[in-house]
Point group: C2
């Protein structure tokens, strides 16, 4: 039986979805929990990786089990540390694939633009300088549409030749002192959301013009953009397996 699971986790406690150093990875942690229940090694496949420090409310993974189990979601959660939580679990068709079948992803990037808050240091990016939301909204539109994002990601051309992706929408909203950037797209390459987020912040501070951002994008050059937002501001909110509809 194949299962699809939606999971939330606190990225500050892990090396990322995959093992990157000595610290435990989210994938490893979940595999250990399910393997204990199945009493044999179980591997899981995520919709994609998240880096160290990056959070998730809607990461998706699939896995296969031979037997069926009662209250499987509750059992898995009881084996997981408090920093990981399986929000939903359902049996799916045997050919469902959490990575290959992705239609779109939704990431949020959170910025504290008010007073420094020691309780939120692992859960947002802190920016002391005032950010102009109107400029950030205008700058965001530069990235919307189908573009070659070579300048705005860290994946080598040798690794992934085609770096064209479709960004369906980017919204910018203030909630008190917190600014939320929401990204909806067909897929995001490594550091892509964080690099765009930081670029929008620099535009909001007046450090870079809309023209300069357009140039950076058009250059299709790995050296064009040196901005990269801190990982703790990034959240994988939702993974869509149906064609994207504007919300």
């Amino acid at each position: 039986m194949r299962y699809k699971a939606i999971v939330s986790y606190d990225g500050s406690r892990f090396s990322g979805w995959q093992v990157q150093n000595d610290r435990p990875s989210v994938q490893q942690t979940i595999e250990q929990a399910i393997s204990r229940i199945a009493d044999q090694p179980v591997r899981i496949t995520g919709s994609g990786r998240t880096d160290a420090g990056v959070h998730a409310y809607g990461q998706v993974f699939h896995f296969d089990l031979e037997k069926t189990y009662r209250d499987l979601r509750t059992s898995i959660n009881s084996q997981l540390p408090a920093s990981v939580y399986v929000r939903s679990l359902e049996a799916v068709a045997d050919d469902f694939h959490s990575r290959y079948d992705v239609c779109w992803k939704h990431y949020d990037y959170l910025i504290n633009n008010g007073e420094y808050d020691p309780l939120k240091r692992d859960y947002c990016c802190f920016e002391r300088e005032h950010l102009d939301l109107d400029i950030m909204k205008e700058a965001a539109q530069i990235f919307v549409g189908t573009n070659d994002f070579t300048s705005f990601n860290a994946t080598g051309k040798d690794e992934i030749v085609n770096q064209e992706r479709t960004v369906y929408n980017i919204t910018v909203a203030r909630e008190d002192d917190m600014i939320r950037l929401s990204f909806y797209g067909s897929g995001f390459l490594r550091y892509m959301v964080r690099m765009i987020a930081r670029t929008l912040m620099e535009a909001g501070k007046g450090k870079i013009s809309l023209g300069e951002i357009r140039e950076m994008l058009e250059k299709k050059d790995k050296e064009a953009c040196h901005y990269n937002g801190e990982p703790q501001g990034l959240y994988l909110v939702e993974v869509g397996y149906q064609p994207f509809k504007m919300q």
Copy 2:
């Protein structure tokens, strides 16, 4: 020169305001930071203790320095870990005392009454069962006013003889899945807010009646109440040094 400081801190990283075991205390951490700047041991006096896991946005402390320093607040913050932040610092009269001069304190108690959130596990109390806010509001009124709180705190009668305190107001409000209990009072004894908070939650679940709560309070007995809310839900929000005014 005497200074008054307002500090916020993430209680999940400390043994509490005062040393309770091997882990560092907030007080110790701040004293080390100021001592490095003054180049001599400096002691600070807090408005009161907070227990391990309890957070603060408005803890107040005072201390004395012989010399004056430029940008002292910035210097102290640069010496502090990211989990502690001095929000304000001002020179005050030599006879100001952060503990003796307290007129009132405001604590919040945060309860997640929705889906379990692994990112908020250290920042609120989680309650799966539905809480009835109307009953909680009614129950809260039992504690408002001047009462002997012997039943609702963990301080021995031998330690503090007079356990009469005035609670000015308790408000109960829902913000999406989060319930915020706000406590305003002349002073709170050890575990007092957490014991009342947990009692209100039990009332909200229908596990205890208003009559039973009244009885517990009237008993003035250390054995009357065995409820105690988890520390991670508690926040010291503000310490007042002027007579309390209803907000």
